[in-house]
């Protein structure tokens, strides 16, 4: 069994790429998800970001539109 077969990368964007991506679109065209804790979100978050702390992700996945591109931070 090749152990390295078990790991795959996650697609990512730099903050700059994300900025460009969102600038050209309507906020309804993508999901922007803040996966931090509520306190962190309160202190500051990106405009329009939906707060779903990572621990709640599995039960709240249905709140996201699966057909739209999604950015997490």
């Amino acid at each position: 069994m090749g152990i390295t077969d078990y790991f795959k990368p996650v697609r990512s964007m730099t903050a700059e790429e994300a900025r460009t991506f969102m600038k050209d679109k309507n906020p309804d065209d993508y999901n922007l998800v803040d996966v931090r804790q509520p306190k962190e979100y309160e202190r500051g978050h990106l405009a329009g970001a939906k707060l779903i702390p990572v621990g709640e992700l599995h039960k709240r996945i249905g709140e996201l539109d699966a057909s739209k591109p999604t950015i997490t931070y």
Binding site: I3, F7, R36, Q37, V54, G55, L57, P69, T70, Y73
Partner: protein, 196 residues
């Protein structure tokens, strides 16, 4: 790091195009954040046999145990220290459970005897233990907790996926492991909420 794990979960759940924004909100504000060790989401091919799933689970549990136990000396915060000690103990129990499954799948073989030779110790999330311990040195407790949350998220996700691939008692075991990882996740998140 949490968002990377989150992105992996969402991509796996079938969302169209999922991207993790590198560096999180700190990068957005133009600051450069210190990165965690390179990690990848664990996954397995369609052809993976039950004993391979059990072996992978054992290796990841063993790696995580080493991480939690190794972090003990670095942590100054008493609550975090205690939580990490408890998590290390929990991972020992998980290793035993998974070793038992492996024995069942292989007609009595010990998983330790069948491990690939020359492997690095890898923990949940596919991160090398030695790199993670090195990375964690001198980091804030909140940063280390975030990292542990990312690990447990990956573990939770991995067990749910394994559970769907199995049936009978093995399925029940992986479901229970998934639930326990989720509780770890919640305990880490609770502590992080107090530290941020």
């Amino acid at each position: 790091m949490r968002s990377r794990a989150a992105a992996a979960v969402l991509a796996d759940a079938g969302l169209e195009a999922v991207y993790n924004m590198q560096g999180g909100i700190a990068a957005w504000e133009g600051l450069i954040a210190a990165g965690p060790p390179e990690s990848g989401m664990a996954y397995f091919g369609d052809s993976a046999q039950p004993q391979e799933l059990a072996m992978l689970a054992w290796m990841l549990e063993d790696g995580s145990r080493q991480f939690y136990a190794g972090m003990d000396v670095h942590l100054q915060d008493d609550n975090a220290k205690k939580l990490f000690q408890n998590l290390a103990k929990a991972e020992v129990m998980h290793e035993k459970t998974v070793a038992e499954l492996y024995r069942g799948f292989t007609k009595g073989r010990a998983v330790e005897d069948d491990l690939p030779s020359g492997r690095d110790d890898i923990m949940e999330g596919g991160i090398k233990v030695a790199e993670a311990l090195q990375w964690a040195e001198g980091k804030e407790v909140a940063t280390i907790l975030e990292f542990a949350i990312a690990l447990e998220t990956n573990a939770y996700d991995l067990y749910l996926k394994m559970e769907r691939r199995l049936d009978g008692d093995a399925q029940k075991v992986f479901l229970r492991l998934a639930e326990e990882e989720k509780r770890h996740l919640e305990r880490l998140a609770e502590l992080l909420e107090k530290k941020v």
